[in-house]
């Protein structure tokens, strides 16, 4: 019996649950403005989430998936990315999308059931939300291949949940990214639940990071409620990919503090006690504690920021609510570059109805 291969998974944390630095202090932590900036994106994301849920409850938004508790994964990741990197989000990365220039109005339009919400005015190369879980992972490989073929220094960043790691297409995409040394960073945002299925029922693996072993590249765990650690690990993975080192799988350990979506009722399948425990780990309070102890963040600073975030959200909501639906012909007009004449009759009928009413 000969040992032919060995593998390991490391975990990285820089800021503990109390907001105290435990590892090497990253540069960014010393830069007050940078920390405040990251903090603001997290606070804004949370404010946006709360407002979106309220809109849904009052019938003015569709089913919505909140990212409550997962803000550090999204913001830390996006903060590490370059503008020309390409984000391929799942459906819970609002913080990353906002940070990269997707507007709140666009997010609301998307979740409000309007395709224009995916026609980002900024972040023009980023992919829209991906609802069929994990099905965007192959796209990330394709984006990575495009970048590689052009010899550009950019990276495709693909984010999905713990549940998604059970999908065959996620595996196929990771495998080819390894085989072709593609510039892709895969991020498994492990919030411990796939709707009602706990992470432990999803796979026998002790870590999700080790899923990378099957694709021949590195997997690493990070405290996903620690924005510094997320940013650090993302930075390393991005740099590796940029410099031709191929893909990395980052498992970000976080927790879904809210329901799966606005139509879910998490109390059916998990204890308040568990949720309560995780509130003590959550990323926003943690970073606020760090700011307070390290960068003299005051209650006033906090209140000012919260107010400005709310104002920003409100402005977006107003814009959203004032946005008229697209006309019915839009159903046809983006189907192909040019509508095949075979469908002209249907388009006419759809418009005709308009008149009937």
């Amino acid at each position: 019996m000969t040992r032919v291969a060995e593998f390991s998974v490391d975990r990285i944390q820089l800021l503990d649950a109390a907001g105290v630095l435990v590892g090497d202090s990253p540069d960014v932590a010393r830069d007050r403005n940078r920390v405040i900036d990251m903090y603001r994106w997290m606070v804004l994301t949370r404010a946006f989430d709360a407002r979106a849920i309220a809109l849904q409850r009052t019938g003015r938004l569709g089913t919505y998936a909140s990212s409550l508790g997962q803000e550090a994964v999204a913001v830390g990741l996006a903060d590490a990315m370059e503008r020309d990197d390409v984000l391929l989000p799942s459906f819970r990365e609002h913080g990353a999308q906002l940070r990269r220039g997707v507007t709140m109005n666009e997010l609301l339009l998307y979740w409000g059931g309007d395709e224009r919400g995916s026609d980002f005015s900024g972040a023009r190369h980023d992919f829209p939300c991906c609802i069929p879980v994990g099905s965007h992972a192959p796209h990330a490989a394709g984006v990575g291949l495009a970048i590689q073929l052009r010899g550009e220094p950019w990276v495709a960043v693909c984010v999905f949940g713990d549940g998604a790691t059970s999908k065959g297409d996620v595996y196929e995409a990771m495998n080819i990214s390894g085989a072709w040394t593609l510039p892709v960073v895969f991020v498994a945002s492990n919030n411990e639940w796939s709707i009602s299925v706990p992470r432990s029922a999803q796979t026998a693996c002790e870590t999700l990071a080790q899923k990378a072993v099957a694709s021949g590249f590195e997997g690493v765990q990070v405290d996903g409620n620690d924005v510094f650690a997320v940013r650090e690990v993302a930075n390393r993975a991005l740099e590796k990919a940029r410099s031709g080192g191929g893909p990395t799988l980052i498992e970000a350990l976080t927790y879904r503090l809210g329901d799966h979506t606005t139509v879910d009722d998490a109390s059916r399948y998990r204890d308040d006690e568990e949720v309560g425990r995780h509130w003590k780990q959550e990323p926003v309070a943690r970073l606020r504690a760090f700011l307070t102890t390290t960068h003299e963040w005051t209650r006033e600073d906090e209140e000012t920021m919260i107010e400005s975030c709310h104002a920003e959200v409100e402005a977006a909501v107003e814009e959203y609510l004032a946005t008229e639906s697209q006309p019915v012909e839009s159903i046809f007009d983006y189907l192909h570059e040019k509508l095949p004449s075979a469908y002209a009759g249907q388009r006419g009928m759809a418009l005709g109805e308009e008149g009937d009413r």
Binding site: G113, D114, E115, G163, K167, H260, T261, S325, V328, Q346
Partner: protein, 337 residues
């Protein structure tokens, strides 16, 4: 992405479709130990629509199993289970996620009996909610039943009422071969009706005549029967008596019921949510052109979804056929001469 909950009611106040499905599953599982349920979130959560509510508590974790998030597997694992003598009933959470399962349906479930000359068989049911009308997120509202109805070796069954959901699901589970059981989610909680929870299946391979009439035949299935019946009622007010046929089992198609009706009325409108081109309405219209041509007094009409991607909720109602479109087609057809 999972709609609001409700606990399955009892028979006295009637049942809605989700409750009927829940009762059918219960009744089948009580009667037959070999039935195993599999799917995402069907356990403690009872399914995102609550179709399996309470079943894990009642039948245990062995028989009501939450799977990992793996649709190819949710279709493929039951093939092995069925070949070994079990009767798996698997749930795909939404039809929008069923596509990775097609490989197992076409290449395995549908042909295990044929390939092995009956040595191994595949008595499995694959359930999936489908269709629009509940303002669901992207990928949650499509109707692609026609893709399945083209696959040889399977049955495709779509209920249109609580009672038919109950009886047809029992029939599907009892069937010794694979059945794709598609549930129009718009109907899940739309209506309650008395359902006798007696474990009695309804016949598959069989259309249901929901309304008698001699002037025109309206053929539909699933959720669109709602609009179809509404239209029929309005037509009656105009003096046009419509016969309404619920196809129910798309594959194999009971064409004789439809042909008989059209033989009587000479006029036919087919209504479905799915995109027009290559929708299952095409098969029915084709059979009329092939086998019922000389009975036709007017062109067949199809009222269907557009040949476009299903829009997000804001324009959803502009995609789905509505009563007006059904009525307009029926009026044209009824008055054609």
């Amino acid at each position: 992405m999972n709609p609001a909950s409700a606990d399955p009611g009892s028979t006295d106040t009637g049942m809605n479709m989700v409750e009927a499905i829940n009762h059918a599953l219960t009744s089948a599982m009580v009667a037959d130990d070999s039935i195993v349920l599999l799917g995402e979130d069907i356990g403690i959560n009872g399914g995102v629509f609550r179709a399996t509510d309470g079943l894990q508590a009642r039948f245990g974790k062995d028989r009501v199993r939450d799977t990992p998030l793996s649709e190819a597997l949710i279709a493929g694992l039951p093939v092995g289970l069925a070949a070994m003598g079990f009767r798996p009933v698997a749930e795909i959470q939404f039809m929008g996620f069923i596509y990775p399962a097609i490989d197992q349906i076409v290449n395995h479930a549908s042909r295990l009996r044929t390939r092995t000359r009956g040595r191994l068989t595949c008595p499995m049911v694959l359930r999936a909610p489908f269709g629009g009308g509940i303002h669901a997120p992207e990928h949650h509202s499509e109707s692609m039943e026609a893709m399945f109805a083209h696959i040889p070796g399977i049955r495709v069954v779509i209920p249109s009422s609580p009672a038919r959901a109950y009886g047809l699901l029992l029939a599907a589970i009892a069937n010794p071969d694979p059945v794709i059981f598609l549930e129009p989610k718009r109907l899940y909680r739309a209506r309650r009706e008395p359902v006798t929870d007696d474990g009695r299946p309804l016949p598959m391979d069989h259309c249901f005549k929901l309304r008698e009439g001699s002037d025109i035949t309206l053929v539909s299935w699933g959720a669109m029967l709602k609009e179809t019946i509404e239209a029929a009622d309005m037509l009656a007010g105009e003096g046009v008596e419509a016969e309404v046929i619920d196809v129910a089992t798309l594959k194999p198609l009971d064409m004789s019921t439809i042909l008989d009706s059209v033989g009587k009325t000479g006029r036919c409108v087919i209504i479905h949510e799915a995109p027009l081109t290559g929708g299952f309405g095409a098969e029915i219209a084709a059979r009329l052109a092939c086998e019922g041509l000389m009975q036709l007094l007017a062109p067949v009409e199809r009222v269907a979804g557009w040949d476009t991607v299903m829009p997000l909720p804001r324009l959803e109602t502009r995609y789905l056929p509505n009563v007006e479109r059904v009525l307009a087609a029926a009026r044209r057809t009824a008055s054609y001469s």
